[in-house]
Amino acid sequence: MKMKKRRKKKIARVRRSAREKGAAGRKKRRGIARKRKTKKAGIKNKTGKRRKTKTLRRKRKAAGKRKSPKRSPSKKGIVRRRRVVKRIHTRKLARRRKEHKRVSVPRRPAVRSVGGSIHKPTYALDTDFEFFYELKDLISKSSPAEKGQMVDKLNRVGRIKLAIASGVFINKENLDPLITDLLIVGDDIDRRKLRTFLRSAEAEVGKEIRFTVMDKDEFQYRLAMFDRFVRVLLEGPHEKLINRLGI
């Protein structure tokens, strides 16, 4: 509806300016020939706006004032100045943009879904699905992550001496918050590689992984002094992915 109205208005405007003869009309459409517009005020117009100015002009003429109503000089100056400044500004911007795009191109901030996430559709499992529990069993029985693949990836992270998987990896939901899902013992561990490894592992498992990293010395010290953390892990259900320490 709105579009239609706007379009109609536009058509009317174009027709009106077309009636105002060639170049003047065209200029007016561009919004430049303000002055001339008032000069040619005699042209008929359906809206009656123009006629009003005409009478106004006549009145002014009678009062001794020539020509169409001018803006006060100060105002005019301001307007002009503003326009010029604006033009320079945009040009400058354009020039700068060519030279260093990074500097001046005003980037729209990436739309982060902070408050916007409310409007996004969200999804959840429907427990009324006819095979819901069967599927759930199937998935919970399946291995969360492939062992061989994990070992390969882990070896790429650094010189891993020992890697013990527990918790999520062996389908045991540990209520004990002390227990980590993954204990990595090794030297020269690349933090970034470790992070990407963990991210992919989390993607595979579908849960957050609680992990612990320590170097060999620390682990052996903890092992020697029967550290509770290590003992609980080794006594509980676990799987050794990599074992180069002979434990």
């Binding site: 879904s113 996004k120 969200t122 999804y123 759930k136 199937l138 399946s142 993607a203």
Partner: protein, 64 residues
């Protein structure tokens, strides 16, 4: 279980990852972006899988 059984059975790694993710986080509600980030798959892939699961009835849409 031997390796990749579910992947072979379900014909799509993304789908298996998504199912694993969803079933290990039962009761939680996720947007496409959440799932995409967590399972490390691109949003269009996730969207496609979501559409399928919605069709089947395993998923339900929570909020618009």
């Amino acid at each position: 279980m031997s390796k990749g059984t579910l992947e072979l059975l379900f014909d799509s790694k993304a789908r298996v990852k998504m199912l694993k993710f969803l079933f290990r986080n039962i009761g939680a509600v996720f947007s496409v972006e959440d799932i995409s980030r967590r399972i490390q798959e691109r949003p269009p892939v996730v969207r496609r899988e979501i559409r399928r699961l919605l069709e089947v009835g395993l998923l339900k849409q929570k909020a618009k």
